[in-house]
Symmetry: C2
Subunit: 571 residues, 2 copies
Amino acid sequence: MPVKASTPLLKKDLLNGRIPENQLKVQNMPASQYDTDLNKNPANHQPLTPLGFLERTAKVFPDHTAIIHGKSKTSYRDYYARAVKLASALSKNGIEKNDTVSVMLANTPPMLEAHYGVPMSGAVLHCMNTRLDAAIIAFQLDHAETKLLIIDREFSALIKQALDKAEVTPVVITWDDPEFPQTGEMLGKLEYEQFIAQGDEDYQWQMPSDEWDAISLNYTSGTTGNPKGVVYHHRGAYLLAQGNALTASMAKHSVYLWTLPMFHCNGWCFPWTLSVIAGTHVCLRQVRQKAMWDSLAENRVTHLCGAPIVMSTLLSADEKDKRDLTHEVEFFTAAAPPPEAVLAAMGEAGFNVTHLYGLTETYGPAVVNDWNRDWDLLNPVEQAAKKSRQGVRYVCLEDLSVRDSETMQSTPMDGETIGEIMFRGNVVMKGYLKNPTASADAFKGGWFHSGDLGVAHEDGYIQIKDRSKDIIISGGENISSIEIEDVLYKHEGIDTAAVVAIEDEKWGETPCAFVETNARGGDLNEQAVIEWCREHLARFKVPKKVLFEEIPKTSTGKIQKYVLRQRVKSL
Amino acid sequence: MPVKASTPLLKKDLLNGRIPENQLKVQNMPASQYDTDLNKNPANHQPLTPLGFLERTAKVFPDHTAIIHGKSKTSYRDYYARAVKLASALSKNGIEKNDTVSVMLANTPPMLEAHYGVPMSGAVLHCMNTRLDAAIIAFQLDHAETKLLIIDREFSALIKQALDKAEVTPVVITWDDPEFPQTGEMLGKLEYEQFIAQGDEDYQWQMPSDEWDAISLNYTSGTTGNPKGVVYHHRGAYLLAQGNALTASMAKHSVYLWTLPMFHCNGWCFPWTLSVIAGTHVCLRQVRQKAMWDSLAENRVTHLCGAPIVMSTLLSADEKDKRDLTHEVEFFTAAAPPPEAVLAAMGEAGFNVTHLYGLTETYGPAVVNDWNRDWDLLNPVEQAAKKSRQGVRYVCLEDLSVRDSETMQSTPMDGETIGEIMFRGNVVMKGYLKNPTASADAFKGGWFHSGDLGVAHEDGYIQIKDRSKDIIISGGENISSIEIEDVLYKHEGIDTAAVVAIEDEKWGETPCAFVETNARGGDLNEQAVIEWCREHLARFKVPKKVLFEEIPKTSTGKIQKYVLRQRVKSL
């Protein structure tokens, strides 16, 4: 195990004995020959930033197709030119270093342009989830102190409501998609194309003065209370962008289909990754079955990312809409472990599925279920079990570990002892915007606390067992709500399940299950569900109560357990 | 064009007007919300270092073959364990942070172990060219202040001579290759395996306390005077290691054949690259034709690097020793542009050749002839012309440009105007060891001055025309000695050619050619060579003198023009 020094060395680390003695000695020694007259200067030290990736690719492969959107194709020359003009137009309109530029855009070319043009002006890019309600949008705009807002015409009614509620009064620019015209009101004085036209193609865009400078702001989806503003820096964006290419073995000129929303952790940094390998973005305004299959076949897509729902959507397409793929497609999924049946069906359809894991705070994925060739020999059930694990650190994440949240000791690698999953490294956020208390909590003890509970297996692969808030403590025993939900999901009559704690006089807490049934679960009742659980679970884990209700979800499809917790309180 | 700020901002940059005004304003403004309470801490900032690559791969793919050497195979588990034990043994033997550990090793497993074990002890790795003479070895050991020296038994006689001349008295450890036993004397008290055995497998190896810490030392080959000690840092090694994988589209588990000596710029950082992608190193103690072909076929090699001579060696193998390759092999070459005939033959034999360029000061390759698909449509002559250009910056090099050495202005991108090739970015050395004057010269004006003269073509690709010292100025006209050499090389009777300036009363300087002929050039004489040049060159570029002599080369095969210049002085 390496000794990892904090940077810079802190006195309290010293006091806590966290600095090894040999390193300490160095601190007190005269400078070595390797530290003398060998300083940083502009020739040998430049800030890491993903902005240079696009500049380079535009120079080297100017005619290569950077973006496909509907019937339109944009070359790297034009992509870069438009990003620079956007930066210039922002600057001409008073946007300065560290101002916030917010956008509410679908997976379309302006969204890709914003990932370069906004930081090229020195501003910070804030992408908003298009499924949010007006109140949360207003909260974000105010909290971020948004100076300028770029939106797609589709969302103008929603934005109008939000601006009515917000205190800030940003300049508004609306884009009207020429490929897929929308009908909403055109907000603001300038249409996006007119705005871009104000920009200067040879604008001297701004490198960050330091790689620690902010590049973007992403709000957590707020399954628990107010959203927090996660700040990314140029260094992390550069490293994760390259990390994706390395993790996904993305060769030069790979073709990437946008099913993952770019408002999620900056599309897991793939808007920057594609410029590293001079790849082609294929935009999808809406994730529709026929459009996906057509694009996969016609554009010879090599890679895509998405939640498990995207796999189901692909697989459940009409047979007439499906297409034969001439090459294996790499599919990266996160959020929930890919089920065995889905993995098998995806394999048959020509996809290789890899499971990733991360949080908004880690720029999207920072953990990968890195596949061992030996596992190809396992049977499908065993393979699915391996794939269900979250995995190991990305190369660009320096450390990943499961620890006791209080003592900060690593848990044994036994696949059983639950601890908190913790991250350390250069693809962990700068912190939460204007929330030093939350930042300090998140970074307690020199590790980022994910709030996810999990185990480390003997081979070092980690697996999530629960969110820390979702653990149920019954008679002193920890019960994983995920374990119960897994059992419920295995019932053919149950479509969605969520388990939370309900207060219990005797046990402290007991599990309470919420279920949504399907056609085959028409006559399911509470007793039948409890029986099913008894067959598959230790008795103390069996829910004492089962409720047949619609389960509330966030705009990104995450189950809102805090709402369920409120409901059970009133029972 | 981006505005690139120096880091940190220097007052003299300000005075020279190098800091754009908008950035200046930021300096005087109160801290932005994005710079408040968002500090570095161990959870979100760790030093970049390639050492973690091996640790990760050993954990994730412990049983994957890391190294093939003769009949032996080493797993990643054992590779990492041995590197850690090496670090521990070094530490137990008094090696401390920033001490120099020198090695003289062939492309064998201990050389790979040294690339991790030495820096894991906090020391700096100094790899010596095995073809050096004793005097230069002694110079390097003294200059580097070597504390410990690891050698291969093959080189013990040479090392003994060098140690006799040197002032330092390092601990010496000798490795005796069990796969290819050598006969030299075993120097020092401990054999390498005994030394490793002293190490502790769970030694707490040292992360650098800062990514700017030195990781290795590489001496320039000294075509002009005393060798200079080029210092690499962890940050640069991390970035170029990943840069290689991205540039070479190296997928997970690629197989790399070691024909490039690892004592060259740390094997262009490939010892670190392979750990990024969990690849397999195939060692080659000696670059022999049959061994190469056998390895390519049997180990399913995917990538290799080497000077043009390696291509000739492969191609000139006996037909019975050549093997059919079942897959295309990526070959990366540097030092001289690959000639058309060689490219064609390599293509037929199953290789795709890519031309790289860099210097010891840039960690090896930092420029790539990044191929445009459109160029596949060109005829072989045109393709070879495209391939002969050095190319464009690696993704991890922030800037590359051809500039006037005095005014520092970029030359026009016309493919004609000669300037000095200059580099700027994170894969440029820390500087020259104990040579602040040379460092200051090299970094003058905020760019690394390569000393190579070249042009920028219209598409931004650069092409070397000459070393600055090799340009011939005749009657006020600049003559590229490379251009004349190219013409000489095209003569079927000429094997090697070198052109230097000779003083001339009338013209100042004129070209003087040295040639080595082959069987087909048996009756070549001075007049015939001059005639040949007249057919292909402008009259003022034609050599006035042609000498038929053996051309002196360095141990790495570089032509020693300074020796030729001495010779012509005495004519």
